[in-house]
């Protein structure tokens, strides 16, 4: 085992791997600065670049980015009071107050060092997890792996914040979407409606970027408020560094909480940082300064949000169930390389495991170092309004999704899923179970097929591993029911530590809950599952099983959701009908559609040159100079890109 670890370290001396790692770190730092992208955006944007690479450099790049996203996202939170990602909103509480007292550098150095330590401790946790889990993983056969896939989706749904039914519905929707394409057992086409292009299934990059990336753009372009209250970068780096050393126990506690939050599916960086903050407050004797610039309020959460990403990788690599959205995409990438996480990775690809660990640790150190060096200039980047960044991001994301299959159809699907993602976000559905379900749909079916064929009857249900997983599956459900029942009985004093977001980091999240919108989302969900149930009737018996199961489960939950919605309505709780957010989102998605239409006709480059200035002038209300210079620079980059990287631009009908 030590052998493989050292071999992996040796392989990192290969310059091409180091270059990829460096590219990943730089990209991760920049993406971390942009609000709303986070680890999901970093992996989704970089993933298309790895098509055609070997697994090792591809992993080095993606892990490099993932390890540092949460290092730089602090900058905007501390200096602007506008967090770069939802998980950085915790740092904002104490970091921004500290910065307003003229101690921005103290806050930032505490945050960077904690992020670094969190990353290293996370990598250590990943290292320790391998020998611990290895014998367990090697004893797994298809029944256990099948149970694990179910566990991955359902835990993600149950543990995600908010309504469990909504989480499960999102998980089922993801599973259903993952089943589109050729059935793995009978090679039948399912839900393709005769389209050849859907036969391969939907592209992971398109789905992830649609549900998360485009939805985020549409939700944020309306935000033009920036630099109202921005703080100068003052104070001393060294006071922060010295102080950080005295909080070493907070660092370790925060990191361990982060790893644990990462291991649990569906509990991501956001919940992990709140847990770490709550822990810091609860264990502190003197609570006076929390929320007004307490260093412990920065150190704990910042350590946690980096170690979360390492913790996410533990179940992903060892058991094949992603702990979060970025790792769900990594899992998808590994599958396209034919590397099956789980038993195969600990026996045949151990060197890759260690490469990941080393990359993570090295990237954490380098990332923190670069942040110290570059913060004065990075701080300027955080002042660019999102409305100006939006079109550039849109162009990059669509180009990325195009690389997977080279089909324009993927881009239309992506925009459609963007609308879906926005609606899910606004009506308070968690989206992580959706993507985890999408990634796990086919493995789930394959393992189920193997299990059903290798074991007689239900005998496999009695294997000890399966029994344990069943228990893990049932206990949280009972717990959730018990909590719901208690809540109805007595609203007061549940008494558990609550880690709810104090002041919502995101105004859009759940803003349309209990409205006519969420009611129609529930109705559409019911319609979708009912349709899927009917359509799956035409499949052969073996191909029908999974779709039928998913459709039935989804239908039942969809109906429950519909009843909940109707009840809330008759109970007089009515959300807003139409908000300014909706107007902006509708406008943005229509513009995205117009852009794709332009691409179809005149090709990508020309479409960018027409679309971006229009968007900047009419939606972002940017200055004329920006509106002319920006598309030109973007155009030059797009022209140069195909010769630097294996990237193709979509061509139009007129080209």
């Amino acid at each position: 085992m030590l052998d493989s670890a050292l071999t992996a370290l040796g392989s990192l001396t290969d310059p091409s791997l180091l270059v990829m790692l460096a590219v990943g770190v730089l990209a991760g730092l920049v993406i971390g600065l942009i609000p709303g992208l986070g680890g999901t955006g970093a992996v989704a944007i970089l993933l298309p670049l790895t098509f055609g690479m070997d697994p090792a450099p591809a992993l080095a790049m993606l892990i490099g980015a993932l390890a540092v996203v949460h290092t730089s996202d602090t900058v905007a939170a501390v200096l602007l009071g506008a967090p770069g990602s939802a998980s950085a909103s915790v740092t904002m509480l104490d970091g921004y107050s500290m910065a307003r007292n003229g101690e921005a550098k103290r806050a930032l150095s505490l945050a960077f060092l904690s992020s670094m330590a969190g990353g290293i401790i996370g990598a250590l946790g990943l290292t320790l997890a391998i020998p611990l889990a290895r014998p367990l993983v090697l004893s797994f056969a298809s029944p256990e792996l099948f149970m694990l896939t179910i566990l991955g989706v359902s835990l993600a749904a149950v543990l995600s914040r908010g309504n469990v039914v909504k989480g499960l519905v999102a998980g089922f929707l993801g599973l259903l979407l993952g089943l589109v394409g050729t059935s793995p057992t009978t090679a039948e086409e399912r839900f393709t409606f005769g389209s050849l292009f859907l036969g391969d299934g939907l592209s992971l990059v398109a789905v992830a970027l649609g549900i998360f990336g485009l939805a985020e753009i549409a939700g944020r372009v309306s935000q033009r408020r920036v630099t109202e209250d921005s703080v100068q970068l003052t104070g001393g780096w060294f006071s922060g560094i010295r102080e950080w050393l005295t909080h070493w126990s907070q660092v370790i506690r925060g990191s361990l909480i982060g790893i644990w939050a990462g291991v649990l599916p569906g509990v991501g960086a956001t919940a992990g940082t709140w847990l770490a903050y709550g822990q810091a407050v609860a264990t502190a004797k003197d609570k006076r300064k929390f929320g007004k610039g307490d260093p412990r309020g920065i150190v704990g959460p910042e350590s946690a949000n980096n170690s979360v990403e390492a913790g996410d990788l533990i179940p992903t690599l060892l058991f094949g169930i992603p702990g979060g959205v970025p790792s769900a995409m990594l899992l998808g990438m590994l599958l396209t390389y034919g590397i099956q996480p789980g038993p195969a990775i600990v026996s045949e690809h151990l060197d890759l495991m260690y490469l990941i660990i080393w990359s993570f640790a090295i990237a954490s150190i380098v990332g923190a170092f670069l942040c110290f060096l570059a913060t004065p200039s990075l701080a300027k980047l955080t002042k660019v309004p999102f409305a100006v960044l939006g079109p550039g991001l849109l162009v990059v994301m669509l180009l990325g999704a195009f690389q997977d299959s080279g089909q324009l159809g993927d881009l239309w699907i992506m925009v459609a899923l963007g609308v879906a993602g926005w609606l899910l976000k606004a009506t308070d559905f968690p989206r992580a179970p959706f993507l985890i379900g999408f990634v796990l749909a086919i493995p789930m079916e394959r393992y189920y097929y193997l299990t059903a064929n290798l074991y007689d009857g239900a005998g496999w249900m009695l294997r000890p591993g399966v029994v344990v997983f069943l228990a893990v599956l049932v206990v949280p459900v009972l717990w959730a029911l018990f909590k719901a029942w208690r809540k109805r009985r007595a609203t007061l004093d549940e008494g558990h530590r609550s880690e709810e977001v104090l002041e919502g980091g995101d105004e859009l999240e759940g803003s349309l809950a209990n409205s006519v919108w969420s009611l129609s989302v529930a109705a559409v969900v019911v319609g979708l599952f009912a349709g899927a149930w009917l359509v799956s009737g035409s499949f052969s018996e073996e191909a029908r099983l999974m779709p039928r199961l998913v459709a039935t489960g989804g239908l039942v939950l969809g109906l429950v959701l519909l009843v909940q919605e109707l009840r809330a309505r008759s109970g007089g709780r009515r959300g807003p009908r139409w908000t300014p957010d909706v107007t902006t989102a509708v406008r943005t998605f229509v513009l995205m559609g117009v852009f794709l239409g332009l691409v179809v006709v005149v090709g990508y480059l020309a479409a960018v040159l027409l679309f971006v200035p229009g968007f900047l002038l009419y939606v972002a209300r940017a200055s004329v100079r920006t509106s002319i210079l920006y598309p030109i620079i973007l155009g030059v980059v797009l022209l140069a890109l195909p010769s630097l990287l294996p990237v193709d631009l979509p061509t139009g009908l007129l080209q």
Binding site: G278, D286, F290, E494, G495, E499, E500, L502
Partner: protein, 128 residues
């Protein structure tokens, strides 16, 4: 000096409010009310005066006052302790309700956490 009340709109909470008002009136002190329910609405001084009009008047006559404040952390018990520390309070008042042994075993209690974490004396009040 200051008395801090962990406020909840329940029987024990109202008993605690009455006790806290009397305590504050005895010493002509300021009573700081902090909401101790999860996601509960922050009470207003008028709400409190409507609940215990006589005692609030008595406190005012004695030269004290009632104010409402909140902490900057999410957990209600942490928030109460935090506010008490910020005011350097003499006393925290909480209401206790009956809990079954099972309820105690499975679920924690905001009042219990305040009792354990507070850095000043705590007065625990039960409804009559």
């Amino acid at each position: 000096m200051t008395v801090v009340l962990a406020h909840a709109d329940s029987d024990p909470g109202r008993a605690a409010l009455a006790a806290a008002l009397r305590e504050a009136a005895d010493h002509a002190e300021r009573l700081v009310v902090v909401d101790a329910t999860r996601g509960g609405a922050r009470p207003t001084v008028a709400d409190l005066a409507a609940l215990e009009p006589d005692l609030v008047q008595a406190l005012r006559d004695a030269g004290g006052e009632v104010v409402v404040d909140e902490g900057s952390v999410a957990d209600p018990s942490d928030a109460v302790v935090q506010v008490a520390q910020r005011y350097d309070a003499r006393l925290v008042v909480v209401g206790l309700r009956h809990r079954s042994p099972v309820g105690k075993a499975i679920l924690g209690s905001t009042a219990q956490r305040i009792l354990l974490d507070a850095t000043c004396p705590v007065l625990a009040v039960k409804p009559a």
